[in-house]
């Protein structure tokens, strides 16, 4: 039964992918979210240029659309040995339109592909009989050991890969995110659904709904939270179905206030 559901989802994904590629644009991705403080932007650029910076400084630059910082971001991308910083810099460069050669996009896509194509099981214990839901689950630990990976790092990095791809708000991410909905890991499904909501890919709503249907009872509310951000009756109906009312209310208020899923 569980495998049959996955199979249906796979077919649905295949039917929708052609339209996804036709809809992707980068204009939305380049749109500034807000108007950050100019001094904060200048400070952020200086910090990045100095090499002593945090992801928040990169985010400040990207959010402000400070394209003048693109060379600096590229330089730091080349210099940095921190994987997460590289991901953040690549994501910002894509958002700022500083990726004419798709170098950074391909970097991000490659990282996300690792996550969505992984056969890793759930990181958390979704078995209701388990004493705690905190991971890593025995299955995930076994998988990580088999792949000679650190379990926590492998679980965490999969989430980062999907998140930072989604935060580009580049619609080229949609196929990978939809593929994420097919992951045997519900953490990947959950993060992919948020990404699709971040990209407002309404065509993926059926896929998310399907994912909710086949997800364990403990996980379905989490996946369904992404549907809050679609102005779609079916999506909202599913929210009411899976998400606790109070949580749904809070999320809908946030959406109404302009907040995004990520």
């Amino acid at each position: 039964m569980w495998m049959v559901r996955k199979f249906y989802l796979l077919i649905l994904c295949a039917l929708l992918s052609a339209g996804v590629y036709g809809q992707q644009t980068q204009s939305d991705a380049n749109k500034p979210e807000a108007a950050p403080d100019k001094a904060a932007v200048s400070d952020a650029i200086a910090r990045v240029k100095s090499g002593d910076f945090a992801p928040v400084h990169v985010e400040t630059i990207a959010a402000a659309g400070a394209v003048e910082a693109i060379p600096i971001l590229k330089e730091q991308f080349a210099r940095s040995h921190d994987w997460l910083i590289k991901m953040k810099l690549a994501s910002a460069l894509v958002r700022l339109g500083g990726d004419q050669d798709d170098i950074y996009w391909e970097f991000l896509a490659k990282q996300a592909t690792i996550a969505v194509e992984s056969d890793a099981p759930d990181f958390m214990n979704t078995d209701p009989q388990a004493k705690t839901s905190a991971g890593p689950s025995p299955e995930f630990t076994a998988w990580a050991n088999a792949h000679k990976l650190d379990a926590q790092e492998a679980g965490r990095n999969a989430m980062y890969r999907i998140m930072l791809l989604s935060l580009t708000r580049d619609r080229r991410a949609i196929p990978l995110l939809r593929q994420g909905l097919l992951s045997p890991s519900h953490e990947i499904e959950y993060m992919a659904a948020l990404g699709l909501a971040e990209l407002q890919d309404k065509d993926s709503i059926p896929l998310i709904l399907q994912a909710c249907k086949i997800a364990p009872e403990a996980v379905a509310p989490a996946i369904a939270e992404s549907l809050v951000y679609f102005d779609d009756p079916g999506a909202q109906e599913a929210v009411d179905t899976y998400v606790p009312k109070e949580r749904a209310r809070i999320l809908r208020e946030a959406k109404a206030a302009g907040q995004k899923p990520l």
Binding site: P55, V56, L84, F123, G135, Q152, R156, M163, A218, Q259
Partner: protein, 996 residues
């Protein structure tokens, strides 16, 4: 004093043939013989340079002498002493002494000899000065005394009867030879001694005599046994000779002309105490010749080849240039006797010159039984060689296969009337260095003929130097293979041709001495036979001079300059190896010698350079195996140039290698307790007399105060601060010098600092172990309740109940980590987020008693610091996942500061250990997103003073610190508010310099 008289040069001649002899003899080129012996090559050995600035020799001069020289006077005989100063660098003074036949001693006037100078002392005149009638029939022997380091003169005594044209020549030999081998023969108690001689009868009227001189201070009973050619006895006699006396014994009737035989002289005494000489004479014909004698030394040496050269034997009509009467023709003679106890096989080879090239012919060999003699039929030999009609000279080379020294030889040329007798002294054909000629004369009708023969099959160049009063003259000589050259000294004088230095021999010069050497100097090895004859046609006399083989002398011994040297380990020192020759010239043998060390662990040496490797005493010696010994050939028969060669450094050069690197050999006691001061005695060497420095590694917590010190012992109070863990400590001593001066290594690899020796610091079991645990107290007042005012989304996201909540929570935190300030809209949101995250990642309070190691392993802390009681660890803990997903290790592996686990000693002497860290890099990233600033550090510093009293109050403001002493909770330092800590940034940190 004069008891040890000997004919040592004769011994050397007969006993010490080199291997060259056997080769040279067996390989002589014999044209037409069909054999192709290997060629005899000239020496090509390195030439040791002469020292331009001679060093002062350490050996003092001694009074020495030479003895021998039978002399006789009567109405016709006049005797003279020819003295040659072999030393070219210094004048020499000598005192001749006459011993009459009755042993009476008569010292004569001192004679001063200039460098290379010669002197002739008339015995007749001397006797007259002594009031003794010089025409009286007197005879005896001569001693020449001098105060010198070695025997610096060469002396010959000539007794000449010009009326009858009779002349006898005898030489002197050192009374105490410097030659080590000869010294060995003279050692020991009196025992039977034997001197072998030889006679021959040149013509029918020849008679002979033997002169026996007792050089000892006691009566010697001497036996005289005359034998014929077949060693059959002819006469036996015994005579007693008084101390220092001389007796002449007439030989019996020697039978027919052409006969030959032996003379055995025996006595009981020490080697060399009895001197034997003699002559053959026919006053009517004017014939005279000296008899050869040789002391016998028993030898176990095997049969081998020896080669003797009798060169310049005149044959046929006399050279007109020599101004002999017309129709004077010469015939060579050569007589030989086997004085060994085994057969000797003798093979003669004749060499002569034709058209400037050497010719040769090897003749049938003959075998001499022990004791037998043979007078060669030289006419038949010349005929056999096809040169019966040759007018000129030939060289007769005798290859002897027998025991070394078996052949006793005599040779020369005699005219038909037996008036002119040119004695030729047989010489062993041996490699040598330069050779000296003791005397030449061109005065009073004299002339001196010099004959040179090159025994090698290759060209050789020589320089013949004539010494005369006031100068010298160099004559370059080139000799082709086997070539003979003869010349008269008078020709050189008459030519008046300047030499290469522009010197000429003044026409007024009529006497002097000479030297034949290689062109590279006196020490160049050469292979040459040389003979000189001083003849007087008017007087019809001829005699030989005193030949010298130049070489190293043994008194003084060869010397390595510099001794008792001291060099540091790793250093070098140059030694120079000198020897001194009988000419007075010093030679530097350093580069041509083999250098040895008696202890290569201490030092090695090569080419004079000593390389020091370890401290200790060492003797460096040097050996030169080719340096020839000096020798004289003044006897009858003359000695060959000594083949003895090889000198060493006179016992070597003692020195020492110093290593004043301090050596620490003892530390008592070597166990030092933490928190205590221990009097410690350090023993060893080379600590110096200035205050030494003690060095410890690790040095933390260890200090010292010197109580006393000297070069071998240091007493110091060692203080080890409490809390210093049990550990091995390297202790080193640094020598700071002596007497106020700094350390003087002297070079090399010597170090002022000793190698380390271990001591052990032991932390007393009763000392305190302090453990400080930093933990986040989730029940702190500012976290209960949490701050308010946060937005609802944030509040909703930061939940960790259901799986969905935990995922949403993790996503929220992930966003902050990647720089998204999601849901942080104001300070209240930030305050709430900080507090919520800390409250939900709080640690459980540690118990009141702990086992530090167990607590460390359990990991329920942000930081743990343990120090004291010989223990030490500092660990940064993990931050629990506030969202309870297990995904967030955003502070999982906390970040240690550069001072994490750092221990040291503060300026006030406190030993401390720091534990210091903060949340991991992901957590820091999230915090920077939320709060806009970096994250401060948390820390604990545990300190012990010298009394072992701990201080543990030095902790960060956050979180809560629980302090345990020996596992029991003794103090808890509450955490500051989260807001206060969040207000700090990364500059909030403890550094070691902040610990007083």
């Amino acid at each position: 004093m004069h008891s040890k008289r000997t004919l040592l040069a004769v011994i050397v001649t007969t006993l010490l043939f080199s291997s060259y002899v056997s080769h040279a003899a067996g390989q002589s080129s014999v044209p037409g013989s069909g054999s192709q012996p290997a060629k005899v090559m000239a020496p090509h050995k390195p030439v040791m340079p002469a020292v331009e600035n001679p060093v002062k020799w350490p050996t003092p001069a001694t009074t020495r002498s030479m003895v021998g020289g039978f002399w006789m006077t009567d109405a016709n005989f006049k005797s003279s002493i020819q003295i040659k100063n072999v030393v070219e660098t210094d004048p020499v003074k000598v005192t001749p002494v006459l011993y009459l036949s009755n042993g009476k001693r008569y010292p004569l006037r001192e004679v001063a000899l200039e460098p290379s100078g010669t002197a002739v002392v008339s015995i007749n005149d001397a006797l007259k000065e002594l009031g003794i009638a010089p025409w009286a029939t007197l005879f005896g022997y001569v001693e020449v005394e001098y105060h010198w380091l070695w025997d610096p003169v060469c002396v010959t005594v000539i007794s000449i009867d010009t009326v009858h044209s009779v002349i006898f020549t005898t030489g002197l030999t050192p009374s105490l030879p410097s030659n080590p081998k000869a010294q060995g023969w003279m050692a020991g108690e009196a025992r039977p001694q034997l001197i072998e001689g030889m006679w021959w009868k040149q013509e029918a009227n020849v008679t002979g005599f033997v002169a026996l001189s007792n050089t000892s201070g006691r009566i010697l009973d001497v036996s005289l046994h005359v034998t014929d050619a077949k060693n059959a006895s002819m006469e036996k006699r015994t005579v007693s000779i008084s101390p220092h006396g001389t007796k002449m014994v007439k030989l019996p009737d020697l039978g027919q002309a052409g006969n030959s035989g032996g003379i055995e002289v025996g006595y009981v005494g020490k080697y060399g105490e009895l001197l034997a000489s003699g002559g053959l004479q026919d006053n009517d014909a004017g014939y005279s010749a000296g008899l050869p004698f040789v002391p016998i030394v028993s030898s176990s040496e095997e049969v081998s080849h020896s080669s003797y050269a009798e060169i310049g034997l005149m044959t046929g009509a006399a050279d007109p240039m020599m101004q002999f009467p017309e129709n004077t023709t010469f015939t060579p003679y050569s007589v030989m006797r086997n004085v060994s106890d085994q057969n000797a096989t003798i093979t003669p080879t004749l060499y002569w010159m034709r058209d400037g090239a050497a010719q040769s012919r090897t003749l049938p060999k003959l075998v001499l039984a022990p004791g037998t003699s043979h007078n060669l039929d030289t006419r038949s030999l010349l005929s056999a060689a096809g040169i019966a009609s040759l007018n000129g000279s030939v060289n007769l080379i005798l290859d002897v296969l027998g025991k070394p020294g078996a052949a006793l030889l005599a040779s020369g040329s005699v005219d038909k009337k037996d008036t002119y007798v040119f004695e030729v002294m047989p010489h062993a054909v041996l490699e040598s260095a330069s050779k000296g000629i003791g005397y030449w004369s061109t005065g009073n009708g004299d002339d001196t003929m010099v004959t040179l023969w090159n025994p090698a099959d290759e060209d050789q160049d020589f320089v013949f130097t004539l010494f005369f009063s006031g100068g010298h003259y160099n004559l370059p000589i080139h000799l082709g293979p086997r070539v003979t050259r003869m010349f008269n000294i008078s020709e050189l004088i008459q030519n008046q041709a300047p030499d290469a230095e522009g010197n000429i021999i003044p026409a007024s010069v009529h006497e002097g001495s000479g030297k034949l050497s290689g062109p590279l100097g006196e020490s160049q090895h050469i292979l040459v036979s040389i003979d000189e004859g001083i003849y007087n046609v008017r007087k019809a006399t001829c005699h030989y001079g005193c030949n010298t083989c130049h070489g190293a002398v043994f008194n003084p011994a060869p010397w390595i300059v510099d001794s008792q040297w001291r060099i540091p380990k790793g250093g070098n020192h140059s030694l120079t190896f000198y020897d001194k020759w009988d000419t007075g010239v010093q030679h530097n043998l350093t580069n041509g010698s083999t250098w040895n060390s008696n202890d290569t662990n201490v030092a090695t040496a090569s080419l004079g350079l000593v390389s020091a490797t370890a401290s200790g005493s060492v003797i460096i010696d040097s050996i030169d195996n080719v340096e020839p010994w000096s020798g004289q050939s003044c006897g009858s028969p003359p000695a060959a140039c000594p083949v003895d060669q090889g000198v060493d450094g006179g016992g070597g050069s003692p020195g020492s290698v110093t290593d004043n690197t301090p050596i620490l050999t003892g530390i008592d006691p070597s166990d030092w307790s933490s928190g205590a001061t221990t009097p410690v005695t350090f023993t060893g060497q080379y600590f110096g007399t200035n205050a030494p420095t003690l060095t410890f590694s690790p040095s933390s917590g260890i200090s010292y105060a010197l109580v006393s010190y000297n070069d071998t012992q240091i007493v110091a109070n060692i203080t080890v601060a409490a809390g210093t863990p049990t550990e091995d400590v390297d202790v080193s001593v640094t020598n700071n010098g002596y007497g106020g001066l700094g350390f003087q290594s002297g070079g090399g690899t010597v170090s002022p600092k000793s190698a380390p020796v271990y001591a052990t610091v032991r932390a007393p079991l009763h000392s305190a172990e302090v453990t400080v645990i930093a933990w986040v107290n989730g029940n702190a007042p500012d976290l209960n309740p949490l701050p308010t005012g946060e937005n609802s989304t944030l509040q909703g996201n930061l939940q960790n109940g259901t799986v969905a909540q935990r995922l949403a929570c993790a996503t929220q935190v992930f966003e902050w980590v990647v720089g998204n300030k999601a849901n942080i809209l104001n300070a209240a949101d930030a305050s709430y987020a900080n507090a919520w995250l800390l409250k939900n990642s709080a640690n459980t309070a540690p118990p009141s008693t702990i086992t530090p190691e167990a607590q460390n392993s359990a990991g329920n802390y942000r930081l743990i610091n343990d120090f004291g009681n010989g223990k030490s660890f500092a660990t940064i803990g993990k931050t629990p996942d506030p969202c309870k997903t297990g995904l967030l290790d955003w502070a999982g592996a906390g970040q240690p500061s550069q001072y994490e686990g750092y221990s040291g000693t503060s300026p006030s002497g406190e030993v401390y250990q720091i534990a210091e860290g903060r949340i991991g890099t992901a957590g820091q990233a999230g915090s920077v997103t939320i709060n806009g600033r970096t994250v401060g550090w948390i820390w604990s510093a545990i300190e012990f003073n010298s009394a072992g009293v701990p201080t543990y109050t030095n902790v960060g403001m956050f979180p809560t610190y629980s302090v345990y002493v020996n596992g029991s909770l003794v103090a808890t330092y509450a955490q500051s508010s989260v807001a206060a800590f969040i207000a700090k940034d990364q500059t909030y940190q403890l550094t070691p310099s902040q610990i007083p």
